[in-house]
Symmetry: C2
Subunit: 179 residues, 2 copies
């Protein structure tokens, strides 16, 4: 591994925990992304200096995020791993999985709590806040989904045209009034 590549892989490790997995899983994913050929578990464990068992667990974790793909080579019983899909698809999956883990449980708890009547003033206040949070999370996930459903090309083009969401939306208002 050249210094440049190593710096990227190590950085993925440091960031890994922030993005939802642990250090070695982050490193593994970074390595798979910038390495052109698919890698076997042993190659990964050697490149990153981690145990074979750890690689196995890490791959399992990445699979649970649907971020790796398994390949087989003829005359070779080993499994080779590479990232699944384009960079954009990967980002989409990370978002989706994080939503499932970070937002959905909260939404469901909030919904449950909002079902029963508040028992007193204190609970009334609490429920009002929960309601606000609930609505906000729904709005955010909705719009995040909208962005995800667009191709990055389209978004980039628009960005270069200088289009902001607000601008675009103002136009829509105007357009609708005229129509």
């Amino acid at each position: 591994m050249t210094a440049k590549i190593e710096s990227f892989v190590m950085h993925c490790g440091e960031m890994g925990s922030r993005w939802g997995f642990n250090r070695t899983v982050g490193q593994m994913y970074g390595l798979l992304i910038i390495h052109e050929e698919a890698l076997s578990a042993v190659q990964i464990s050697e490149a990153l200096n981690i145990s074979r068992g750890n690689v196995s667990m890490g791959i399992k974790e990445l699979q649970s995020w649907r971020l790796v793909q398994v390949h087989h080579k003829p005359k070779d019983r080993k499994e080779y791993y590479s990232p699944a899909g384009s960079i954009w698809e990967m980002a989409t999956r990370v978002f989706e999985e994080r939503r499932k883990r970070e937002v959905d449980p909260t939404l469901s708890l909030l919904r449950d709590n909002l079902l029963d009547e508040p028992g007193n003033q204190q609970e009334q206040y609490a429920q009002d806040r929960m309601h606000e949070i609930h609505d906000l999370l729904e709005t955010i996930t909705h719009w995040a989904g909208e962005l995800q459903s667009m191709s990055p090309d389209k978004l980039n083009t628009l960005m270069k045209l200088g289009a902001g969401v607000s601008k675009v939306i103002d136009m829509k208002d105007k357009f609708m009034k005229n129509g």
Copy 2:
């Protein structure tokens, strides 16, 4: 604390680590959000059964995220804490801080690496991937910023009208061709 309120606070604790801070900090923040009156450090430590020192560290952490406000009551030397700003502002701050911690360092590393010429084919491939990631992160932060700059009311209204980003953007295209 009623059962309902407690369930919310504990949930914030569990989610806390996913949202960027640790369990007790999450609990503290949840408690401050659903409690109408500002709370002193001792009240927090009693409500959550954690040490006074831990509360002090937690408040410091929340302040570094610009998520709490300090109040003083007349004839009382204690400090009282409450959440800073509306729910929307809080979400905005969490996003901003996370961007600073999770995305900006990566962008800067990628930019550095993209400056020098690749030394060989392997590095060429790696740089191409880094370029893709760099552009994607820029696009995402750009559009996230756009959404943040809008009021949640406006977003909600649009959402109820059934407007998706793509729809809105298609309209824009049509509009521009006609104009």
